[in-house]
């Protein structure tokens, strides 16, 4: 295992597109070569070295490469996007597209992330200690193939559009969410430990949602069918079990309609 440490030296005037900051790009390269990797600031192509000091060489493969960014990346996009293995740790905030399209490996952001984290993620782990803005684990515009696999865990709260058009994988938001959870989803699991304003599971075809807090406005397309006990993220709770979205189309399995499930923690 090799660790490459990036230390931010300069805040980009605009935003730096750090699409090269992945174990895949760093693997097999020396610190100097890594510092020469490209990124965009506006229309100009700049080198990583202009914004970071690089110490340590990359491992032989992505899986052998751990990246640690020692500082704030509030103005660096695409950290760990499209990565397949290895790890990225940011000791601070990160901007948009953290872990976008990632297939494997692990990302740990110790601060907050901006929107579009884990967009169309296929595998791996994305952990955020702080809050996420909007569009967590969602699909790219127009694509009906959203997040397919992997796990996103946001320890703070998140905004709107969690798991839009999700097909698989798991998203866990440990605090509150604003609106639109699993909209258009056809699979996957979303767990929200705090409260949600509303629009949970709209236009949803298939998949599971767990809400441990309250939903202020339930969608009329959800119907309660019973109470169940389920284990969620290592703890057991009693849930009111809803199915929906009854306004949406649904496939059949063995002659029975398959609906999306909403498990809302039952009042104590």
């Amino acid at each position: 295992m090799a660790t490459v440490t990036l230390k931010p030296t300069k805040v980009p005037e605009l935003i730096f597109e750090g699409y090269s900051i992945t174990p895949d790009a760093f693997a097999g390269k020396t610190a100097a070569q890594i510092a020469a990797l490209p990124g965009h600031e506006g229309k100009f192509v700049l080198k990583l070295g202009e914004f970071f000091t690089v110490s340590g060489n990359g491992g032989e493969t992505a899986a052998d490469t751990d990246i640690v960014i020692d500082g704030d990346c509030s103005r660096v996009k695409y950290i760990g996007s499209k990565m397949t293995a290895g790890s990225v740790t940011v000791n601070g905030n990160a901007d948009m597209y953290v872990g976008g399209w990632m297939k494997g490996g692990k990302i740990h952001i110790k601060g907050n992330v901006d929107s579009f984290c884990g967009i169309q993620m296929e595998g791996g782990e994305l952990l955020v200690d702080g809050d996420a803005k909007n569009h967590v684990g969602c699909a790219y515009r127009g694509d009906w193939r959203g997040m397919k696999g992997g796990t996103i865990r946001i320890k703070g709260s998140a905004g709107n559009d969690i798991g839009t058009a999700m097909l698989g994988g798991t998203i866990i938001i440990e605090k509150d969410v604003f609106i639109h959870v699993s909209t258009h989803a056809e699979g996957g699991t979303v767990i929200i430990k705090g409260d949600v304003e509303g629009r949970v599971g709209g236009q949803m075809v298939k998949g599971d949602m767990y809400v441990l807090g309250k939903i202020k406005f339930m969608l009329p397309g959800y119907k309660k069918i019973g109470t169940v006990e389920k284990e969620v993220d290592g703890a057991k709770y009693t849930f009111d079990h809803y199915i929906g979205d009854l306004g949406e189309r649904h496939g059949k399995s063995k002659g029975q309609y398959v609906y999306a499930n909403l498990y809302l923690k039952a009042a104590a």
Partner: protein
């Protein structure tokens, strides 16, 4: 002798009425009378007579005042500023013809800019919804000739599109709707009892911001399921009755507006409306249409889609491919996040119509305004370049709200020396090419290029 010009297109709202008659002075420099247009269109044509209309570019001086400069200097400044910027933002096109929208494409590519239009603060969420769910729509003539149920959802044409209801949607007698309003059932869904709601047979005064739930309720009852007694403030029975009206229509037409795009959930409100439209097509024929605000705001969506594949929020900074993701590459987000370092505002007024904070952010960098008139943006700009008014003294193609291209005429001669948007952009582009020692790319030989003309040659 004054001349009466018929079949004139009105460059105001998305209804793009092209039955206007304008009486102009003998020398074609003054609008004397405007017939058929609404009050807003009438004012617009008369405003072209304003003797104080700017005729030369004005550049801001160190003391804060504006000083007139020659066009060459303005073009040079704009070319140099955009080339030097890391990421310029070009925004506007609420009142520009398609020729101008096409010409700006070259400048945007050349300068690695983000290309955005007024949809970004208006019907942008409708685009997002179309990306996700498609757009089962039709031309306005279909609504006029066939629709027996018309739904206005979060839109108020009596104010925003004053002739829409008389030309297309409520009153006109169409081919299969000979009885006009008598033959149409009108539903209005709005948190206020607007003047459009007053015209409706049924007004569903929902709780503001809960459109998504109400759409969900309609879809749920259409599939035969029960819903709660009250959804979004509307009683179940009213929802069921309204759903039956839509379902039993011969042709149901849904128009939607800013009440859906400006509120919580944005695109998902429309997304859900489109799902409802799809569902209704299992029962009858149903179409949906965005009430686009400006006469040619559908234009940039079309022109840029065929040039770059995206209708708005197009980031061309990579040089070899376009990237679009509203929320990131959208004007207001770019401004608030300080992602751009030059602002070019064309045929729109960001100064008046953006929330004030993004304006303050954009003002940190060079701020160029191209507009026939003085407006809020021009009065805070570093450079204001006047151009001809599309649809008044410059002809060209515009796209009506239903994406029907209409070839607008000019009714006046342009002010001497003032170029059209297209001519100005071509000159800026040529200057950029000179400055970078490259050859301009016209696709066709320069001598074959032609600027718009008013009359059809048969």
């Amino acid at each position: 002798m004054p001349k009466l010009i018929k079949g004139v297109g009105c460059p105001y709202c998305g209804s793009s009425c092209d039955d206007i008659e304008v009486l102009v002075s003998d020398d074609e420099t003054k609008v004397l009378e405007v017939h058929n247009a609404c009050i807003i269109g009438t004012n617009l044509f008369h405003h072209a007579n304003d003797p104080t209309r700017p005729r030369l570019p004005r550049k801001r001086q160190p003391d804060g005042s504006m000083k007139e400069i020659p066009y060459e200097d303005a073009i040079d400044y704009m070319a140099k500023t955009m080339l030097a910027a890391k990421k310029p933002l070009i925004y506007g096109f609420g009142s520009t013809n398609c020729e101008g929208m096409s010409a700006i494409g070259r400048i945007a590519e050349k300068s690695g800019a983000v290309l955005d239009n007024c949809a970004t603060i208006c019907h942008g969420p409708s685009f997002l919804a179309i990306f996700d769910n498609g757009y089962p729509s039709c031309t306005l003539g279909e609504a006029k000739n066939r629709a027996d149920v018309v739904v206005f959802w979060g839109c108020n044409p009596m104010h925003a599109h004053p002739r829409h209801t008389s030309r297309y949607s409520i009153f006109p007698r169409g081919y299969f709707t000979q009885k006009g309003q008598m033959q149409r059932t009108v539903l209005c869904i709005d948190p206020r009892e607007t003047d459009t709601a007053k015209l409706a047979d049924h007004h569903l005064m929902l709780d503001q911001g809960h459109d998504y739930e109400l759409f969900n309720a309609f879809r749920t009852v259409l599939r035969g399921h029960d819903i709660p007694d009250v959804v979004a403030g509307i009683p179940k029975e009213t929802i069921k009755k309204s759903a039956e009206i839509m379902k039993n229509a011969k042709f149901c037409m849904i128009f939607f507006g800013m009440g859906c795009t400006h509120t919580d959930g944005r695109n998902h409100n429309i997304d859900h409306a489109i799902s409802l439209t799809r569902d209704l097509n299992d029962h009858t024929k149903c179409s949906i249409m965005a009430m686009r605000g400006h006469y040619n705001i559908a234009g940039p969506g079309q022109v840029w889609a065929w040039q770059f594949g995206f209708p708005y929020c197009i980031d061309l900074s990579k040089g070899t491919h376009a990237h679009m993701n509203p929320g990131e590459t959208s004007s207001v987000d770019l401004a608030m996040r300080d992602e751009v370092d030059c602002f070019v505002n064309i045929g729109a007024d960001a100064g008046a119509h953006f929330p004030i904070q993004p304006v303050q952010h954009l003002k940190k960098h060079p701020f160029i305004v191209i507009d026939p008139n003085f407006n809020m943006a021009s009065e805070i700009s570093d450079l204001h370049i006047p151009v001809r008014i599309a649809g008044v003294d410059e002809p060209g193609v515009v796209y009506r709200m239903d994406n029907v291209p209409i070839q607008f005429k000019a009714v006046l001669k342009g002010l001497p020396g003032v170029p059209s948007d297209e001519e100005l952009f071509d000159r800026v582009y040529e200057r950029m090419c000179e400055l970078t020692n490259t050859k301009p790319i016209w696709l066709a030989a320069k001598e074959d290029r032609r600027y718009p003309e008013s009359e059809a040659v048969s």
